[in-house]
Symmetry: C2
Subunit: 283 residues, 2 copies
């Protein structure tokens, strides 16, 4: 049995599964204006951030998620300069975005400043680009921000949010995607974390439909491992104003001049392969 | 907390993680001559088989493993007729192999007959091809069998075993791979489950080296999700007597006349993409 003083456990009630990490200390706990944040030191996964009882990230394996949310979108746009991250308060996505030299402005719009302040303290490696002159950290409501954004002013929107319950719920709606569509330039694209392909087809399918109803011409789902999230298998979904086919700048990805731990050109192509059941369920 | 009467938990001590499934009943438990087998009914994953405290398979998600252990190897051989499965007592791999019409003989060599008898009772869907005229079920020591196999008599060896501790330990050695090499024909290949790429590089790296020392000219590792195994991310490693490059019969895979739930031609290619850290660690 797992002694609750020694293990953090997230139970996924809907799918009757649970994932646990052995902890060595609870480093911090607070109730912010938006959510309850806990930080643990784990035995083998480095520091762990938990929000409202759900895994957000661990030092050991957040690289899958952050790399796969950012690089495929960046290498699928012909020349991304302005990137807006909605959520993403741990700053890991921001760090990956800023590895691209062509990006001139990366704006992170996180509703809860405490997430970023705690990331600075407990995950400093993710915050190493926060003082890059191209980085801008805004603590505000991303839905509101997107409503007010100047039309055509953004190249890529990255929606790096918690699950579609609580504060993030509005980020999974057609209304929000319409605002993103308006804010994006002609070759603009959006990428959003889209939950587990095994557990959450009931989220992915309507999300893709809502993106298309909002005007996006093409959607593609990317598949990748993410051990601390339910089922250990995760996804991100791209939505393009233009067709995404043939948009991948493969030779640029192959010649990238920055380090990654998971992503590379072959992984980019691989992540787009649709499992049989997925294609079948999309119909 | 997870009440142990309601949850089955496997703790991965080495990596400080644990995965749990909610159970509704323990259906069976026995100590065989080789190992302790438990069968549970779970709430959301169908029946579950546990051996010596480790997840073997669940009805819901064994398709990842069984399809990825079998179809990539079968479509990487020019014309596989004789397939030998070492282990694989649940018969799921056997069922996948027999979906290939060109296969004329599929021999499963499982050391513990009780695994198969319990699979017939609790996972009948995996045993649906056990009475195919091309199927042969032998209950014997796979290491011994391979030592005695006629040279050049086998097209593909599939090593579908438990972890490299206990009865399966000898299946991860250069001596065993040498016997496989001898048993295989000129275009022969071997495939073996090779644990988690995140947790077990210490197994994968020496396994690949031992396969090459045993005479195999080429090795390739395949990556795929497997939610109930440690880290939720798993691998299988191919070893070919010839180079494996360009051996994939892609159009045959695309035109396959049988159903799968995960595998298809795109997934085959995708599974071969090496993550950055993996290539780096292999050197």
């Amino acid at each position: 049995m797992l002694d609750k003083d020694q293990w953090f456990t997230e139970i996924c009630t809907q799918d009757g599964s649970a994932f646990s990490l052995k902890t060595s200390a609870k480093l911090h706990e607070e109730q912010t204006a938006y959510q309850r944040i806990e930080i643990y030191a784990t035995e083998k996964f480095g520091n762990l951030m938990v929000i409202d009882g759900y895994y957000m990230l661990t030092a050991r394996e957040n690289f899958f998620y952050h790399e796969m949310l950012s690089h495929p979108a960046l290498f699928a746009h012909p020349a991304p300069q302005t990137v807006v991250i909605i959520g993403g308060g741990d700053c890991g996505t921001l760090r990956e975005v800023l590895k691209h030299e062509g990006v001139t402005r990366a704006l992170q719009v996180e509703i809860d400043e405490r997430v970023t302040r705690l990331a600075e303290e407990f995950f400093p490696e993710l915050c190493s680009s926060n003082h890059d002159t191209r980085a801008e950290l805004l603590f505000a409501d991303g839905i509101r921000w997107m409503k007010d954004a100047a039309p055509g002013s953004v190249d890529i929107v990255m929606i790096d949010s918690t699950d579609p319950i609580g504060p993030a719920e509005g980020l999974f709606t057609e209304a929000f995607y319409r605002d993103c569509y308006r804010a994006l330039g002609d070759h603009g694209l959006l990428v959003q974390q889209s939950e587990s392909p095994l557990y959450h087809m009931g989220i992915i399918k309507p999300m893709r439909a809502a993106m298309q109803s909002a005007g996006f011409r093409d959607t593609q789902t990317l598949f990748f491992p993410q051990p601390c999230y339910p089922s250990g298998w995760w996804s991100a979904t791209l939505a393009g104003k233009q067709s995404l086919d043939g948009q991948f700048r493969e030779s640029d990805a192959r010649d990238k001049r920055f380090e990654t731990r998971y992503y590379n050109a072959a992984i980019h192509r691989a992540a787009l392969a649709q499992p049989e059941f997925f294609s079948r369920e999309l119909g």
